[in-house]
């Protein structure tokens, strides 16, 4: 399936100021756009979300491209997180939340009757805004998901844990104390990477990140961004952020949302990140990314 990118995917040039990692990613994106057909991994259609009767998201539709980072940006209150939580049905945990519209994962509606929410969440992982490791050892944090899925083999668990922590770029810092140190004893940035490792261990296809760096310092933020660039080799990522630099640096595709006069969030504009940031078609988008509001 060829994705509708809301415009032409312009080949991207590696800019001089980027790190070698960024150059790699940019080069890869260029290759993708030229050589491979872009595949839609998930797609939201006419999403509406309301909490206790108050509409917080109205009529939002956009695709999520496989093996890319899609960023949802916008001022606070524009319903970014609410949209994100529709992608793995986490809104259902909020009492009186109502979601309408559809979200497709590989052409299957995750809200269809007969679809197990547990299965959806296993395939679509979520990293929270505030790091929330379990009050257990680092090892147990990461092994939690696989264990619940029925993995009992110790050797295989060890392997999954090590692989996931390495993927989350945390291995060097924690490998000595894996089983004794509590996840809560790590620094904020480390905790967040632990939470990413915890999600990776369940081998999801899509990883949702809800402002994963908002509680972190600038260095930890950059680490998380670099990590995302590495992870899209294997995963598809959707990230919510209010940090435009972050969206510009780390994402391939950007969705800009704003809050309407009725205080419901709606989608203003979307497109390849480069294009949206360099030539926004909408006045609101331009104002937002140039910092005139929000």
């Amino acid at each position: 399936m060829t994705a509708d990118l809301g415009g032409v995917a312009a080949p991207l040039k590696a800019s001089g100021s980027r790190s070698s990692l960024g150059q790699l990613a940019a080069a890869r994106r260029a290759t993708l756009a030229e050589d491979e057909a872009l595949v839609t991994k998930m797609e939201a259609t006419s999403l509406n979300v309301s909490y206790a009767g108050r509409t917080v998201v109205r009529d939002v539709s956009f695709p999520v491209i496989s093996n890319q980072v899609t960023a949802i940006i916008g001022p606070s209150g524009s319903g970014k997180s609410s949209v994100l939580r529709c992608f793995n049905r986490m809104n259902e945990l909020i009492p009186k939340a109502v979601v309408s519209g559809s979200v497709r994962l590989d052409d299957e509606d995750i809200y269809a009757s007969g679809v197990q929410v547990v299965e959806v969440r296993r395939r679509v992982g979520l990293v929270f805004q505030r790091p929330n490791p379990f009050p257990m050892s680092i090892y147990e944090n990461v092994a939690y998901g696989p264990r619940r899925l029925g993995e009992r083999n110790r050797a295989r668990l060890d392997e999954i844990v090590e692989r996931s922590i390495r993927q989350a770029a945390l291995w060097e810092e924690v490998s000595d104390d894996l089983r004794r140190k509590s996840g809560l004893a790590l620094s904020g940035g480390q905790q967040q990477r632990l939470c990413i490792a915890r999600v990776l261990a369940t081998e999801p296809e899509v990883i949702l990140m809800d402002e994963p760096a908002s509680a972190l310092d600038p260095i930890a933020t950059l680490q998380i961004e670099e990590l995302m660039r590495e992870l899209i080799e294997k995963y598809t990522i959707v990230i919510v952020t209010h940090n435009m630099q972050e969206a510009a640096r780390a994402s391939d595709h950007t969705v800009f949302m704003s809050m309407g006069t009725d205080r419901a969030g709606y989608l203003v504009e979307r497109g390849p990140t480069r294009q949206l940031f360099s030539m926004p078609t909408h006045k609101l988008t331009e104002d937002y990314i140039t910092g005139r509001f929000g």
């Binding site: 197990q116 547990v118 299965e119 619940r148 899925l149 029925g150």
Partner: protein, 295 residues
């Protein structure tokens, strides 16, 4: 995957079943108690005097329950509120505070029969009052005081810090702030606490067996206001069986053919009183909260 989902369903159903069973058990107990007492609960039973071997009434013991509740409240409400104010507003980390906390927890854990024995020594024998309403009330006060203190402390702590700062910023002293800002705002919580603990005092029996005694003068003459006259219902210096103690006494002595009827009737009456306190606490707290937030 399947198995996990089945386990989730089974667990959910089990938890619902437990909740339902608890509700049914409670309903069954209340219905049974009330049903068993339907024929007994008449004005002559509620207000009448006990009779040796006969059915009689529970008037004097019911009066004693209320009277001792009043005496106990007289002691514990001021003392408990004061202690609660100390815990919430003045207690600094230190030896005294941790000793008080420990005492508070310890009294709450000590069996009421042991409190009763302590009362027997301290309030019955040492004072020379003998089995008396006052000794019983003091024993009840012993374990009501920490409860009252805790409820007051919770109510005071629930008062937002903003209100305190506002008062202190206006230059009032700490006590003025407590007296005129914090305590008034905590009143609904405190009053609810008082009534809820009243229900507990009303139903207590073990602590009273050896303090208030198992006998009581009957044929009360309420016009006799001489509190020093042991025959006056107003006197704290007379033995005073309460309704709860009376139930225990009747069933353990097992004299006469009306034992079951008396105990059934008295149990239902006791339950209704306690339910009344419970409902009353809810209603009064609702009214008070409403008035404070509106005014």
């Amino acid at each position: 995957m399947r198995r996990v989902l089945v386990a989730d369903r089974v667990a959910t159903a089990t938890l619902w079943a437990i909740a339902l069973a608890a509700l049914l058990l409670l309903a069954a107990m209340i219905v049974h108690l009330v049903w068993a007492a339907v024929g007994t609960l008449s004005a002559s039973f509620v207000l009448g005097d006990p009779e040796f071997l006969g059915l009689g009434g529970v008037g004097p013991v019911l009066w004693n329950s209320f009277y001792m509740l009043f005496l106990t409240a007289l002691i514990t409400v001021p003392a408990g509120i004061a202690a609660g104010i100390y815990m919430a507003e003045y207690a600094a980390e230190g030896r005294l505070t941790s000793a008080i906390r420990f005492a508070q927890e310890a009294i709450s854990s000590i069996p009421s029969i042991v409190v009763g024995l302590f009362g027997l020594v301290a309030f019955v024998n040492l004072t020379g009052w003998g089995f008396s309403a006052l000794a019983g009330s003091l024993a009840l006060s012993v374990f009501n005081l920490p409860l009252m203190a805790r409820l007051t402390e919770q109510a005071l702590r629930a008062v937002p810090a903003d209100e305190r700062y506002a008062s202190l910023a206006l230059g009032s002293t700490k006590w003025q702030m407590i007296r005129h800002v914090v305590v008034p705002l905590a009143i609904p919580g405190i009053v609810t606490g008082i009534i809820l603990t009243a229900g507990r005092i009303f139903g207590e029996a073990a602590a009273l067996l050896f303090t208030a005694g198992l006998t009581t003068p009957s044929n009360y003459h309420f016009e006799n206001l001489n509190v020093l006259d042991p025959k006056s219902p107003w006197s704290p210096f007379r033995p005073a069986t309460t309704l709860a103690v009376y139930i225990w006494k009747v069933q353990s002595e097992g004299l006469g053919s009306s034992v079951k009827q008396i105990a059934d009737g008295a149990s239902a009456l006791l339950l209704l009183c306690v339910l009344g306190f419970n409902v009353g606490a809810r209603m009064i707290s609702r009214v008070l909260v409403y008035r404070i937030t509106r005014a």
